[in-house]
Amino acid sequence: MLDSSADTSGTGIGKFLTKTTNWLLHTQEGVLFFIVAAIWLFLTIQSPVFFTGRNIGVLLSQVSMTAITAVGMTILLISGEIDASVGSMQAFVGVVVMSVLNSSSNLALGVLVGLAIGVVVGLINSLISLRLGINSLIATLAMLSIVRGAAFGFTEASIQNTHKIPTFTEIGNGFFLGVPWPIIFFFAVFLIFYFVLSRTTFGRFVHAVGANPEAATLAGIPVRLVKMAGFVLTSVLASFSAIILLSRLNSGQNGIGAGFELEAIGAVLLGGTSLSGGEGSMVGTFLAVLLLGTLKNGIVLLDINSSWQVAVTGLIIIIAVLLDARRRRRLGQD
């Protein structure tokens, strides 16, 4: 019996307004949207540079790497698992891809090798977490060290660009129809996986295995396979981020990406994805990444000591958890 009296009946506009108000006040996306909008307004007033196409382009390009990894992480967290190894992946994929490019001068080969590393590391992560039954936070924290070690083992110094492939530099710094490539990659990845998560059976199964693995098993869902796909996807997207970063830096550095995993996971949590699995929001992740980028950008524009950029990640995580607790309490959960 669908109880239509619960809907606020009335004109279309009234309904739309109620819906929008509800979204703004009662969902984490709404609250985030509010916060981002407020900060954008503030920065626009404070700094004449902020709301210019050029600055927004810089802002979005800077967060595109975090964003692309966070998209995978959103899916993984909803499935009830986590991947902390994405930080070291930025370094390892970077040094390996740069050296492949230098020796082969073949861009496609370099990118493929980079993505293949993602597949392999994702499979290893899922093997340790799902087969050996080690909590994925612990398993991937261990992988964080192992992959970092591999990056240091691969090269003792940074690997410079000696291949001079022009297209390679374009990945991180070029424009397409006036829009920086990293932003195009970011939006494309976001849109594709927004669709996958909300409209496909795979997306549904991701939610199900995170919400209640036993129920998912009894409903005939291949729980391990779904989670494995989440691990591999996250790791491959992290590799993609690493390739963009590599192009922007134009050198493979074995120490890069420290704290990157916290940034990505923090953004996902801030976006309203639950640490306990089963619920989450791609739009939330998008807005959270935007907030992260805006804060970092604002610190530069307002001439605040840029060391604080690093502290922003910690702040974001605390806000994320507070918002989550507040929302749960109001909705009478737990």
Binding site: A6, A215, G220, E279
Partner: protein, 501 residues
Amino acid sequence: MSEQQALLQLTGIAKEFPGTKALKGVDFSLNAGEVHALIGENGAGKSTLIKIIAGLYQQDAGTIEVEGKAVEFHSPADSLEHRIKVVYQELDLVPDLSIAENVFLGNLPKKALRAVDWQALYSRTSELLLDLGLDIDPEVPISALTVAQQQLVEIARALSRQAQIIIMDEPTSALSQTEIESLFAVIRRLQARGVGIMYVSHKLDEIYAIADRVTVFRDGEHIATEAVVNTKHSDLVTWMVGREVKDLYPRTPAKRGDVLLEVDSVSGGNIENFSLNVHAGEIVAVFGLMGSGVHNLGRLIFGNMPRTGSVRLSGEEIHAKAPMDAIRKGLGFLTENRKSDGLLLPLSVKDNITLVSVNNYANLMVINGQEERRATTGIIDKLSIKTPGIAQKIRYLSGGNQQKSLVGRWLLEDLKVLMFAEPTRGIDVGSKAEIYRLMDDMAHGGMGILVLSTELPEVMGIADRIIVIRQGRSAGRWISRQEANEQDLMTAATVQMEKVI
């Protein structure tokens, strides 16, 4: 008696959740030394009221008074402070800690330097347990206890805090008959000490066995409060349902077709060499007591528990590895723990209902939203599931409507046989008949139904054939329910097997 000041007085309590008014200004009072039963169908608002008293939810309106003083509960600690203890249906004990640690959790006896006084802890726990008629080592971990024993531990926990108000939420839902009787003995002892007990239940017989007064809620409203001696069974049902319920068991004979499910010498868990078969158009019931293996049987057949022996559906072997294969071949299974084994709490009613069948509305993994919504709405109408919309999160539905959604999940799949463990557990009187009618319909539609139940009246009411299971083995078979009687079935289920050394 009426002059006496109530131990607990709730007045005009209201609580609203997104999309539902769970309580619409209800009253409830509890006197010292009284057992006051609260009954109502699922969704009547009982659980919400309990959670308000426990300090888990805050009411939107209304007052709570303890011994005449107005109080406000902002957290469970506030409620405990006023010596109120809730014993939940799903017990909230820490499985890996000992009985004693659980009893005194948050309240451990201390020696100098805030070190735990283990000696005092164990001896005081032993005293409390003996007082409740439980003679067991307090150092044993909770996980080693039966559900009935765990419940007594919860009560001991209440006593350790000198609780004066104990709220029991469906305390007997997982207990055997003997265990229920010993629980009642404990309740009477508590009563004699002046403890007030709020007893929430579905089972009307229990109300007559134990309660002094009874209050009925329906759809979040207070319907009646009466002394139990002044009420008739039929009054209670009418108050709860809002209409008269007749014909609880609508089973009509259906045409028996070919054999669909063949279970041949299946072993695993505590089950040994169990065989049975189910034909099209048939409802077969396996009856057994708690612990007999009656529920595990379903898991073995479904492939959710390692087994030996063979299971065939329409002649095709079902692999023992994962339920996926069983489902693909046309076997469905609703477990007895539908909440923990079935619900996806953070997901919508729609996503819960179409969990198994979602592939049917998808093309290359892309879900056709319109088709999925149509299927969901169909189930919601068919099973009269009360929800403000298909996008409502299922956690906000009442227990009974959650149950119905899970039943609906399997109706969308083209099944040959449905295994249904405890089909009406947690389902209210009004909906029970609907569930039985549904099973009857399915049988008439050519499906086979296998019921796994610990409820004798239910088995007697709906089954075409009955098999009794005892200690994992077949303990008797009846080829029609007319030939069976409750006594024979109970005897078969309970008589101790000869001990062979």
